[in-house]
């Protein structure tokens, strides 16, 4: 009998392993339950009633973007604000998965580890969320962008603090009256649930010349003495590379300002696949940007299978190049910051310490996207692009450094218009990226949207140049 008892210790051991497993499960539950709850297919929060007790969503100035009044979800009274911030705030459904009302629905509805989502509605305390965006800026940017009736995106963010001031994506609909999308009209609403700021990647066109310039100043010692001959077209690697017009003889700064494809195509070939890839990688083109846990679409620079002509085109942002709007804003912000990026965020820090004016910056310094001296050179050349070519009165007195792009997308479609850049003003540290699909010249189409957004954003920050 004693032997049997001793051997039964084995079964006890199995049971202890089981108890250990329960402990592991409990630990996982305590650590991760909040993430588990936040899924669009959680029926407790995903139906339309899910927000009937939810907290409000405010913009940076405390303006209510979405709130629950008498059990009904009510969005901002301005239609432009509603549509402009659709992809940031979200609607009653969880169709826009990256929106705050989808991502943080459990927080809005008052989830807690102890009570789960089980509190009766009359006793549940819900939480408000304050965003970093400025409703006015977003409305203005949306009005400018939606005038084209094309898909596009516009993002403005503070490259010192990471706060996103403006994030607008078209097409959009009114969250107060979401459309019924059926088989008949689904082509009309194609991609409407996608936040183009975060989740789309576009052909960059000439804005990619920022990367090629960075590679050039790092790898060609006499780059500033060089000149290029542009006759509007040149054969490189067996096929032609073309410019919009014949730029004549240009140096590096002029080539950037006038966006001379031939100069940059030749540069890309001279710099070579390896260095181009190295600089693009370092600048984070092939990575995604993290925005409060949401990963943006990744850009693409991959010339491993490119021939010489394709390598040439890759230097002017064509071939298979892709970039994401948020990524470009962060990249421009890094140039302004001397090469270091700052992670963007949509959530305003409303902690107690912050309210006392104590700022504990927990987020580590961002990645170095450019070497400091490279960033400095890019800054000068992008500033030259504005002052020399476009004129400095464009952004209402802000000292802006920027680059436009007009990306050919083939299929007989009109090009994608781009403008990316940043303001150097001490009291207005804003970077921006603006993209409009199927329109035309970057300066003509993306320019006005960027200008509207930047000026309004600068006003909301109280920048002296625009007062």
């Amino acid at each position: 009998m004693k032997r049997i008892l001793r051997r039964s210790t084995m079964i006890l051991a199995v049971t202890l392993v089981f108890i250990g497993g329960l402990g592991f499960l409990a630990t996982e539950l305590v650590m991760d339950a909040e993430d588990w709850v936040d899924h669009p297919f959680n029926a407790h929060i995903s139906d339309n009633g899910g927000l009937s007790q939810a907290g409000a969503v405010f913009d940076r100035n405390g303006e209510a973007l979405a709130q629950t009044i008498d059990g009904k979800r009510v969005y901002n009274e301005s239609e432009s604000v509603r549509k402009g911030l659709l992809h940031v705030v979200g609607d009653n459904s969880v169709n826009i998965s990256t929106a705050v009302q989808s991502m943080y629905r459990s927080q809005l509805t008052g989830y807690s580890l102890i009570w789960g989502l089980n509190m009766p509605k009359s006793l549940r305390s819900s939480n408000d969320i304050t965003l970093t965006v400025d409703a006015k800026t977003c409305a203005a940017a949306y009005d400018a962008l939606s005038a084209y009736d094309k898909k596009g995106a516009c993002v403005v963010y503070n490259y010192k603090t990471g706060e996103v001031i403006c994030s607008v994506s078209t097409l959009a609909y009114d969250p107060q009256a979401p459309p019924k999308i059926t088989e008949e009209n689904e082509s009309e609403y194609d991609g409407v649930y996608l936040d183009n700021v975060l989740s789309s990647a576009y052909t960059p066109g000439s804005i990619f010349k920022i990367i090629t310039t960075a590679a050039a100043v790092e790898s060609i010692p006499d780059i500033y003495e060089r000149t290029w001959e542009c006759t509007g077209s040149k054969e490189i690697g067996g096929s032609d590379v073309t410019c919009v017009e014949a730029h004549g003889t240009v140096n590096l700064e002029q080539a950037m300002a006038h966006s001379c494809n031939i100069a940059y195509a030749e540069l890309a070939v001279e710099i070579g696949e390896e260095k181009m890839t190295e600089i693009a990688e370092k600048a984070g083109i092939n990575d995604s940007v993290d925005v409060d846990g949401v990963k943006t679409a990744k850009g693409l620079y991959d010339v491993s299978k490119a021939n010489t002509n394709q390598l040439a085109w890759s230097g002017v942002g064509q071939y298979n190049d892709k970039v994401n709007p948020m990524q470009m804003a962060v990249l421009c912000g890094a140039i302004a910051n001397g090469g270091k990026s700052k992670s963007p965020t949509l959530l305003k820090d409303t902690s107690f310490l912050k309210s006392l004016g104590i700022d504990i910056n927990m987020s580590s310094d961002g990645d170095e996207l450019f070497a400091p001296e490279t960033a400095d050179k890019l800054d000068k050349i992008m500033r030259y692009t504005i002052t020399d070519y476009y004129g400095d009165n464009l952004f209402g007195g802000l000292s802006v450094c920027a680059k436009t792009g007009t990306a050919e997308v083939g299929d007989d479609k009109e090009p994608t218009a781009w403008m990316v850049g940043y303001a150097k003003d001490e009291d207005c540290p804003l970077a921006f990226a603006c993209v409009v699909e199927e329109t035309g010249f970057g300066f003509t189409y993306a320019g006005p949207v960027a200008e509207t957004a930047m000026i309004q954003a600068a006003k909301s920050l109280g920048a002296s140049a625009v007062q």
């Binding site: 032997r3 049997i4 008892l5 084995m10 079964i11 497993g21 588990w36 407790h44 789960g116 509605k121």
Partner: protein
């Protein structure tokens, strides 16, 4: 007004977990109490030295080996010399292959030989006189489970049952409040049916069978009732099917206890039982209908049964045996072949979960029977089975392994069930969203394979964990009564039955919560499934039988 109502609802939800813990505690507390004091059954008086050796157990090994129950320090005695055992008719001694033999009153024994008080037993050069237990007066070290038991008498069985019935009543009241309007009062109807079964069984046990204790049955009833009530807001009919199955389970529980009353007689049925088990499994291969990828169901008219569940009970029965048989017949070949056939047939059926349960139970039984070194050989043999059937299920396993620990990535495909279980466990919080108020019930198999998630969502994590621990603690109980069982047949079967339930429980909980890459087994007593409930009741019959009071003490 509605706020006051809501506060009431919240108070009830907080109350239930506390109440569940109290019930489970009381069940186990009652199991410890009302035991006979540990004292020797008989005494062996060494005629040469005058030393008295206490005989504590119903079955005892005598030998030179330190691990013998009665150690005889005599070079002429074999390491494992003979077994001294008590049966209804009296005491027996049985030589288990010693070199020098065992002599009773000077006569060499053949097989089991009866011993009467004052008889002499000679093994090697040592001669004992067989005396009464009262002769031994020294103090005896007692098992920790039973020591330090407060002198307070155990909670009366009927009071414990009343607590459990009240718990089920609260659950039903909760279920009444959350309904889709189609059957608002059906939980109360179910409650009365359930209460009738509970008290009916209690009455039969108390007045009919004259049993002194009812704690184990109470615990099983508590769990069974929860499983039944959870079904009322899913498929009302299933709740009644489950309840009827539980009644069948209780009947089988009683039959098994009666059947194994004499471990020696019932041992004769080992071979027929083996043939019956293999026949059952073969039947489900031939007539089986494939459900959820496993051909483990057979349909007789409108009744469907899962033979593999019933074979679990037979498997435990076949695995156990009395101590003298264990010592003489050390050959496990027969049992190994039987195990291999069972696991192989289950593998053929595609019932991977049950095959794994059998495999682990095989290891446990083999170790309990043989001790140390042989188990290694068994493990190797078993591993060969394992590999064979893993190959058999390659594609199915590969899919599940791919999604294992990556549920969110495969939340809409291969890990659909696990992802939803985690979401709803978290949504339920510590106290649950209320019976019938959850959403996991809309997911397939939520009432069986995923029932842990269903309990956690609707009744809260505390209750879910309490129920898991309640089943797990059966092992502690089975071990505690090991040396007090009337035969190793009972102690082995009780420990292994409890072990089997724990293994099954672990696969159920950890499979559903993505800790293990496997689903498809049931939560003992609670998961919906008639065969499963019947087999659980059948398995605890072995634990009940191992409690010496079951047969020895009557009211």
């Amino acid at each position: 007004m509605s706020v006051i109502f809501d506060i009431g609802v919240v108070a009830l939800r907080i109350l239930l977990p506390v109440y569940a813990i109290v019930i489970v505690y009381q069940c186990y507390a009652a199991m410890r109490r009302r035991r006979r004091p540990e004292k020797p059954l008989v005494t062996l008086f060494d005629i040469n030295t005058g030393r008295k050796l206490p005989v504590l157990f119903w079955e005892n090994t005598l030998g030179r080996s330190k691990s013998s129950d009665i150690v005889v320090d005599d070079p002429a005695v074999s390491r494992s010399h003979c077994v001294l055992l008590r049966r209804k008719e009296g005491w027996y001694v049985n030589d288990v292959g010693s070199k020098s033999g065992t002599f009773v009153n000077g006569k060499r024994t053949r097989g089991r030989t009866q011993l009467l008080i004052d008889d002499t037993v000679r093994i090697g050069d040592t001669e004992f006189q067989f005396r009464r237990g009262e002769e031994y007066t020294d103090k005896i070290r007692t098992n920790r489970f039973f020591s330090k038991v407060s002198q307070k008498p155990a909670m009366k069985s009927w009071k414990l049952m009343l607590l459990i019935t009240l718990f089920h009543l609260f659950m039903c009241i909760e279920a009444v409040f959350w309904n889709d309007g189609s059957n608002p009062n059906s939980p109360m109807v179910l409650f009365f049916a359930l209460a009738a079964v509970e008290w009916g069984f209690f009455a039969i046990s108390y007045f009919g069978l004259k049993r002194v204790n009812f704690e184990l049955e109470s615990l099983a009833m508590f769990l069974t009732g929860i499983g039944v009530i959870l079904l009322i807001r899913q498929v009302e009919r299933s709740a009644y099917v489950q309840l009827i199955a539980a009644v069948v389970g209780m009947v089988i529980f009683c039959i098994i206890i009666k059947f194994i009353e004499d471990p020696d007689k019932s041992a004769r049925f080992r071979i027929p039982a083996m043939i019956f088990a293999v026949g059952l499994l073969l039947m489900s291969i031939v007539f089986g209908k494939v459900t959820y990828g496993a051909a483990n169901w057979i349909y007789i008219g409108s009744i469907s049964i899962q033979p593999s569940e019933l074979v679990k009970v037979i498997y435990i029965f076949i695995g156990a045996s009395a101590l003298d048989k264990l010592q003489t017949n050390k050959n496990l070949l027969e049992f190994m072949i039987f195990s291999a056939v069972c696991v192989g047939l289950l593998a053929l059926m595609g019932d991977f979960g049950t095959a794994l349960i059998f495999f682990v139970t095989f290891l446990l039984i083999a170790f309990m029977r043989s001790g140390d070194f042989k188990t290694i050989i068994f493990a190797v043999a078993a591993a060969i089975f394992g590999v064979t059937f893993i190959l058999n299920f390659k594609s199915y396993i590969a899919d599940r392994f791919k999604a294992w620990r990556h549920v969110w990535q495969y939340a809409q495909t291969d890990a659909y069930q696990q992802a939803h279980v985690l979401i709803y466990i978290a949504s339920g919080g510590l106290f649950g969203v209320g019976i019938g108020n959850g959403f996991l019930k809309q997911i397939g198999a939520s009432e069986s394979d995923l029932v842990f998630g269903l309990v956690a969502e609707e009744m809260g994590v505390i209750i879910a964990f309490t129920l898991a621990v309640a089943v797990g603690a059966l092992v502690i109980y089975a071990r505690a009564i090991t040396t007090r069982s009337r035969s190793t047949f009972y102690s082995i079967s009780a420990c292994c039955a409890a072990g089997l339930l724990v293994v099954q429980l672990a696969l159920n909980i950890f499979g559903a919560t993505d800790i293990l890459p496997l689903t498809g087994v049931t939560f003992p007593f609670i998961s919906s499934g008639g065969s499963s409930v019947i087999s659980c009741w059948g398995l605890i019959a072995f634990i009940k039988a191992a409690d010496e009071r079951t047969y020895a003490v009557k009211r």
